[in-house]
Symmetry: C2
Subunit: 330 residues, 2 copies
């Protein structure tokens, strides 16, 4: 990639101060015609890019795009951040990642900062936020994209299209003789309920498998939630012989729990995750999972964000296809 | 933790607009005595905290603290971010994580944004940045802490104290009959050279082990660098029987490489990482490593940052002790 020419270099080439260059670009203060011409010539000669500095000066808006997520320890979001950044770098934007810990107060605080600091945009995976929490951003004219399984109003959305993959997962469990399926699900108070749980229930019904209520354990989408959830499942009157997990990090927690209690995966219990993070293929046994490609989610979110920056006002919803990947935990 | 009272709630309680509350707090516009009194009463009654909103209004400074890191896919930094955030939350600061991909241009851009946006502070692990790159932040009065193995001027530092742990690691290799040690090191153009490599060389000499130059492979501190580095080591005229890695993510890459080529760890080759990220104890075989506690690095960086916010001007250097953890790859 070409090195970006700085405003200081433009100023030096034009024989003026950096402040003068900024006045020429922003029009905030009057500049003599001769000076303006010298600056504009230097800009053309050096190939100085008006983005993002000039845009930032003109609009008072930052070059920062916030990625607001519930769990920075989940590698899915690291991949999402990298992908988003790769797409937005060419447009002069820097991605900063902000971890809410799935706390609603932090989610609200961070959206407020995004408005206060006039961020260039925000991509968010909300967890406990109100569905209409993006109205203020819209009023402030700040582009926003939500990456989630549930609908939020007034905002572009990137959602998984995972019904077929989940059906394949449950069909495999049925075909391999599993009968009682447990679920480490999301928390009961998450915004919009738990669409992943609903998809699992639908697919289980289609495969002729039962998911007894006592085997649905709510959790926080974390590795710790997997450990705790596994303990609760093992304490059930009738233990499950398979566990569907809300994501891979939770599935890894289930594997921790199984190892500590001498439960064999997959002989005693099958485990299926969601996301296919890097480490899913590295843990032993290798994790069977629903692959949800973070890089494609990031690319899609970036595209939606850039369209909004370019003036698109109508709302868009995009789906990214998830795929079932059978490995060694089933 | 107590829920923070918002400015909107203060405005509602005082029967005024949020803008009026902000004028009372900032003094930016005149407000009638009666209105001021109503707002101040509401602030006291609701227990509205002047931090960080009022500070932000008074100083024009953001409540955001930037954590600028070279590789967001390395879980060490996710732990560091969480710890930093836990410490700073009570002080009304939000941590945003910014990934440079170890590119010098991105490092410089992000420091410029930190100044432009008047961030409340920055914690950074530089990779290719000039050692004096923090002078502009100092001039702007923005608190800064560097977490690194090398010295940077004009800025507080958190460094590992790992010499003893590295000596233990090399002593174990010698005691278990290893003779030729390879190193997946950092890149040749990293700022300040490669102090981890130097510590490994010193410890190898003390343990009577040789590290031939052809077995020192430079890399980018990534999992991919581990895969590539392992290939180069296996192509050496005399292969190593042990590999020291610059961090755990690189060591995991070495394990990928070994698996793909049928090389047995630890029978054919011992592997030692650095950091002790979560996944070090989850991969199979479990990774032997130099444990460098990210949570303590985060806590220390937060303390140094808060001291600067409170007015400390003299420079501090703090050391966090690293410990050798022997598992199954040695």
């Amino acid at each position: 990639m070409q090195r970006r020419v700085t405003m200081t270099e433009v100023a030096r080439a034009a024989g003026v101060s950096s402040a003068t260059v900024s006045y020429v670009l922003s029009g905030k203060r009057p500049v003599s015609d001769g000076t303006r011409q010298a600056v504009e010539e230097a800009i053309v000669r050096l190939g100085f890019s008006l983005n993002p500095v000039a845009r930032s000066l003109r609009t008072g808006r930052s070059t920062l795009v916030a990625l607001v997520i519930p769990d920075i320890a989940n590698p899915f979001y690291a991949h999402l951040a990298s992908s988003l950044q790769d797409e937005l770098r060419a447009h002069g934007c820097h991605v900063v990642v902000s971890n809410t810990g799935a706390r609603r107060e932090a989610e609200e605080d961070l959206l407020r900062e995004v408005v206060n600091q006039r961020f260039a945009g925000v991509v968010m995976t909300p967890f406990r936020l109100d569905r209409d929490a993006f109205q203020e951003l819209r009023r402030a004219g700040i582009p926003a994209v939500v990456s989630a399984d549930v609908e939020f109003s007034d905002v572009d959305l990137v959602m998984p299209d995972s019904a077929a993959a989940v059906r394949q997962a449950l069909a495999l469990l049925a075909a391999s003789g599993r009968r009682r399926v447990g679920v480490i699900a999301g928390p009961r108070d998450a915004t919009g309920g738990d669409p992943r749980l609903q998809r699992i229930k639908d697919a289980a019904a289609a495969a002729g498998l039962s998911i007894p209520e006592e085997l649905i354990v709510p959790g926080e989408h974390t590795r710790r939630a997997g450990v705790l959830g596994f303990r609760r499942l093992m304490a059930a009157r009738h233990r499950p012989d398979a566990v569907m997990c809300v994501n891979d990090v939770t599935a890894v927690g289930v594997m921790d729990g199984a190892e500590h209690t001498g439960v064999d995966i997959p002989a005693d219990i099958a485990v299926i995750g969601h996301d296919d993070i890097d480490f899913a293929s590295l843990v032993r046994p290798r994790l069977t999972t629903i692959s949800y490609p973070a890089h494609q989610v990031g690319r899609t979110a970036a595209r939606l964000l850039l369209q909004q920056m370019d003036g698109r006002a109508s709302r868009r919803v995009e789906h990214v296809v998830a795929e079932f990947v059978a490995r060694s935990t089933t």
